[in-house]
Symmetry: C2
Subunit: 482 residues, 2 copies
């Protein structure tokens, strides 16, 4: 799909969205007016008007890039989205389905028949089909599988056989493989005969008779070297290859590090299996970043802005329920000290500070560790120095902030012993926070789990509970006459 518009700004997109909404609202208004009007020609008139608006919508969408249509659909409420979806030309439907978010895709697919979906899928490549496969109903998928030829079917099966987080699931098959005994001239005329290169082709892959990758031929070299030379003389033999079972996050870092546009993907025997391109890598990076942010905020997956209230509610319950459990746990700790609070009620006012500051400190530490783990910067060789540094930092910050908070509470309550307990509790809880903030991600990583998931929730529940326990415990030891 070629690029769309000469000058492209967010204003342009928002303008397109506004116009689509205007067309849709006009259509809905006319419909409701007609329904109320006591005319006999009602149905005929309605049909004509409806047709007119539909044509205008169709023309609007026909001029847009599938990614822009996807943006408009995502920004429309459910009822208008359905009408707009019907106005999109079927041959664009597949590309649009690929571009919309998972949540919105569900709303679009749920209204389509299996036959319709099979037709739509007919325009897609195997790697694109694989992206949709998880969201398609079984019946549609069977129909699609039957319509594929054997090469396409084996491509589709290949991609689907890899887990989501492996390179094999991200690859496509738009590679051009050549032999090293051809001349550049022969390659050029071969390309001219093809008439078109797959998108993101910046290099050709040089393979031997066993389909093992021997080198790459960048188009740049094809263009700058004498046509009489052989591929063997011009190809690059020092290049980046990915394995089908390699971690996608690792591949995405390699793309960034070496500024790649495309790279060959091989199986454990070194045989060419497919191609990894920067556009898929960019999508992967963006999705991962969104996921990380949403997890921090306690949302399980990306939401359709206009999904039903019920669906959104379910998406948010998971973490809220976890939080209820942890909140009640820390409540039980306060419960242990209720008689202490009765003797010195200022403790009730001050205890949330100890808990909250611990949580903040721990989150700072854990987030930096999670980032460094993601970048592969933490190794057995430097982890001990890192732990030492963070502990030193927590001692420094705990002392300073403990003193500051102690002084503030002295101003409020004019009770030196209370302030001292506050300062010491603050320092201890900040040390606890840093130990937990280091420990959870490092241990999760050691056991092969994503260090980001759940860290913040577990950490906060520990710093809350420990904050209450340390502060109220110290208070009951030193401030209360037993």
């Amino acid at each position: 799909m070629e690029t769309p518009d000469k000058l492209l700004t967010a204003q342009f997109l928002q303008h397109q969205l506004q116009e689509v909404i205007k067309l849709l609202e006009k259509q809905q208004l006319e419909k409701s007016l007609l329904e109320r009007a006591p005319t006999t020609r009602h149905e005929l008139l309605e049909a004509v008007l409806h047709k007119q608006q539909q044509t205008r919508l169709q023309e609007k969408f026909a001029a847009l890039h599938p990614a822009d249509i996807a943006y408009i659909l995502e920004s429309l409420p459910l009822d208008q989205r359905k009408i707009a979806w019907n106005a999109i030309n079927t041959h664009l439907d597949g590309q649009v389905l690929l571009e919309v978010s998972d949540a919105v895709r569900h709303t679009l697919i749920s209204g389509m028949a299996a036959e319709e979906l099979a037709t739509v899928a007919g325009n897609l490549d195997a790697d694109e089909l694989a992206d949709l496969a998880a969201d398609l109903p079984k019946r549609a998928m069977l129909k699609i599988l039957r319509s594929l030829n054997s090469v396409e079917r084996s491509h589709l099966n290949a991609i689907l056989s890899y887990p989501d987080n492996q390179v094999g699931a991200l690859m496509d098959f738009g590679m051009i493989a050549i032999r090293d005994d051809m001349t550049l001239k022969a390659i050029s005329s071969y390309i001219r005969k093809l008439g078109k290169l797959p998108s993101h082709t910046d290099k050709l892959f040089v393979v031997d008779p066993y389909n093992q990758v021997k080198g790459i031929l960048p188009l740049q070299r094809l263009l700058t070297h004498a046509p009489s030379l052989h591929v063997e003389q011009v190809m690059v033999t020092d290049f980046v290859v990915f394995q089908t079972d390699q971690d996608s996050a690792e591949a995405s870092r390699a793309f960034e590090r070496y500024d790649l546009i495309s790279a060959p993907v091989v199986d454990p025997d070194g045989k060419l299996q497919g191609r990894l391109c920067v556009d898929n890598i960019m999508d992967f990076i963006r999705e991962k970043a969104a996921e990380d942010l949403l997890i921090q905020a306690g949302v399980t997956e990306e939401e359709d802005l206009f999904s039903s209230v019920w669906k959104s509610a379910k998406n948010r319950w998971g973490w809220l329920l976890v939080n209820i459990v942890t909140a009640f746990a820390s409540t039980r700790i306060i419960g242990l000290f209720e008689d202490v609070i009765l003797q010195l009620v200022a403790l009730a006012s001050l205890m949330p500070i100890v808990a909250a500051m611990g949580g903040n400190t721990g989150n700072q530490t854990s987030m930096l560790i999670i980032r460094s783990l993601a970048l592969g910067q933490i190794t057995p060789a430097n982890v001990r120095r890192l732990i030492k540094k963070e502990l030193a930092l927590a001692t420094l910050n705990g002392t300073l902030i403990g003193l500051l908070i102690g002084m503030l509470s002295l101003l409020l309550y004019r009770d030196l012993a209370l302030s001292a307990v506050m300062s010491i509790a603050m320092l201890i809880n900040m040390l606890v926070a840093v130990i937990v903030g280091l420990g959870i991600p490092l241990l999760r990583h050691k056991f092969g789990k994503d260090p980001a998931v759940g860290t913040s929730v577990i950490l906060t529940s520990i710093t809350d509970s420990m904050g209450f326990f340390i502060f109220l415990g110290l208070a009951s030891l030193f401030l209360i006459a037993n």
Copy 2:
């Protein structure tokens, strides 16, 4: 810089890191042994041994890609990092400086003389120099400016004149501009004469005599069309152009949406100013994602893993101090109700739950709004529907979770009135949380500010304070005999 290794995995990188550390530790060990040894040939021997190790280190680094060297430097503690940095060949220094994180760059540059920096910078392009400019000392920058020719200097000045968040600051000058009356054959021989294309060249830019961009010629078309054709007949006239003053985040979305590799950048008159490439866009996306995550965790900027404790401490104080202020504010609200707590001490145990659940709900809402704003999906046309939906959701979740929490506290305290107050306070605070979680990002966005910055801190402080106030206020009205 060509790509480096045939098979490239995280294991490979970690292995390189281990080897460098081993070399460095050997060097440090030998040095300390020699210092203790009472030999007269001490200095000579030390010099020889040092030389040996240094050579081995140099050979190691010479075989690595600058991005990989940057990774190793980032993973080394300060003392070892300095030794390693000295072992890197000067002609690689510039590229390595570009690849390391800002924090680590500071530690490397701080040890270098102005002359040395000027030499290092001599190997860099104007757009690369611009990336370093902010971190270079003034004296070095003046030296560098003097060593540039007038074209380079004007390029550098052009980039530096744009704020960080605009396309102009991200562009480079590696574009090839051609005229539309040339034949493809002439273009091909022009390229062959050049001998080398700038990296990421997937298209040539077609300009008129006034340097205005008329079209693009993808290399693909150059390769697939007859050499006798003129550029005019083959060029694409429907393409994406960016303006120098356009928002970088918008440009990065366009790159993703239209799967671009490179695109022309023009000034307001449509004149070609530079080129935007996918590698810079990827760096931009990754940096923005990291920033968003760290902001959520209350860290001001990315930290060098091994920066001094003092530097790290300062990086984390900002948000901790803000949190002290907000924590004391909510404390003052509890203080108002100390006599109520004395009459019913269970309130002290239960109040953190109301506050915490409010914070969680608000954060879920605000994060989804921030995401949608970043994707440009929220428009004046749909914002009202969105607000309605979130309020409906909060009412549903508030009722269900309020009831659940009420039942749990009934189990704990066997006090029906207390549980009822708990449920109602929970519902009201969740509504407050959603209103604040919608309001802060939407208002910040409306006034042109980044909706993500500070939202979580302000939100949590409001849901805490309001949670305590609503719960204790309702309790004093309905549970306490005045």
